[in-house]
């Protein structure tokens, strides 16, 4: 979502810059002559059909001011403009989530970091080895100041107690979380009919 918003913000910024540069060039060229013809600003306005545009916009605004029922097209256009504005602001102001989790940091020795995917795979393997776990799904959220959080969802057979399986999975993940700035939050749920127990 963030990446899409950033791409859209970049595209809009590029298009706006092109439009601004083109407008500036046209205004500069059409400022060469005075009067109302040739390379003059009134001539440029005529070329761009600005008088007709003013009439069209004026009629539209007058129609809006008349009141009465809600006009669907302007309403949707307004809502679309608000949503587009919010998306563009998100794209400009929010940075994409860092894909790297810092596991340790030492100025002299150096740091150890891992991308989210291998960490999620590793946590999934560890949690999957715990007694009673039939499946594990992991999401990794990097922290703002190093480290991160593992959100682990494990499934278990109906015959096993969820708390017991959750404790086993948490214990299995300690290989990854002990002495690192990683924390794990494990939730357990009963496996579906198609999932095999151990």
């Amino acid at each position: 979502m963030i990446h899409l918003a950033r791409a859209l913000a970049r595209l809009v910024a590029l298009l706006l810059l092109i439009a601004l540069a083109t407008t500036g060039l046209a205004v500069a060229v059409f400022s060469i002559e005075g009067g109302r013809s040739g390379l003059s600003l009134p001539a440029l306005a005529r070329h761009l059909h600005l008088p007709e545009l003013r009439g069209t916009v004026g009629r539209f605004l007058a129609q809006l001011e008349r009141g009465g029922g809600i006009d669907l097209v302007p309403l949707l256009a307004g809502l679309g403009a608000v949503i587009l504005g919010v998306v563009l602001m998100i794209g400009v102001l929010r940075s994409p989530r860092d894909r790297t989790v810092v596991l340790d940091e030492d100025d002299d020795a150096g740091s150890t970091a891992a991308r989210r995917r291998p960490l999620a795979e590793l946590a999934g393997v560890l949690a999957g080895q715990a007694d009673g776990v039939t499946g594990a799904r992991v999401k990794v959220r990097p922290g703002r100041h190093g480290g991160g959080r593992l959100a682990v969802r494990v499934s278990h057979p109906p015959a096993r107690a969820g708390a017991e399986v959750k404790a086993a999975a948490t214990d299995a993940l300690s290989t990854l979380t002990e002495e690192t700035p990683l924390s794990a939050r494990v939730s357990a749920r009963r496996a579906g009919p198609g999932e095999r127990g151990r």
Partner: protein, 130 residues
């Protein structure tokens, strides 16, 4: 399953630069670890050391850290093993190799970046990684 990106051997031009030589030496040492399956150039090739003549060391970057000292970054594909312990062992291997080659004084901090896992390598729970 992670894709393996074997690091190309630096060409003759690489030996001319201490920076490229350090990158190649460090990557060789890291790849010799049994739990390291390959090297990864990283997003947009940020873990690539380029040398004159088109030679590239993919998976290692060497950045000046101070006068005649370099910070080393390694981007690796590893077996699913305890990552911090693995990184410590890789650092020790790289430092040993640098000492043997006489490059140790140039070697600063070593950043180890785990880019991906080699799932085919299994998971040696409770065992040391080397």
């Amino acid at each position: 399953m992670a894709a393996s990106h074997p690091a190309p051997a630096p060409g003759p031009a690489a030996r001319e630069s201490p920076r490229v030589a350090l990158a190649a030496l460090a990557l060789r040492a890291a790849l010799a670890h049994p739990a390291v399956a390959g090297a990864d150039p990283g997003p947009r090739g940020i873990y690539v050391t380029a040398a004159t003549g088109g030679a590239r060391v993919a998976g290692a970057r060497v950045i000046a850290q101070g006068p005649a000292s370099y910070e080393l970054g390694l981007s690796l594909i590893t077996a699913p093993v305890p990552l911090r312990e693995l990184a410590t062992e890789i650092r020790a291997r790289v430092r040993r190799s640098a000492e043997a080659a006489g490059s140790a004084p140039r070697l600063g901090a070593i950043q180890v970046h785990i880019a991906d896992l080699d799932d085919g390598a299994g998971f040696p729970t409770g065992s040391r990684t080397s």
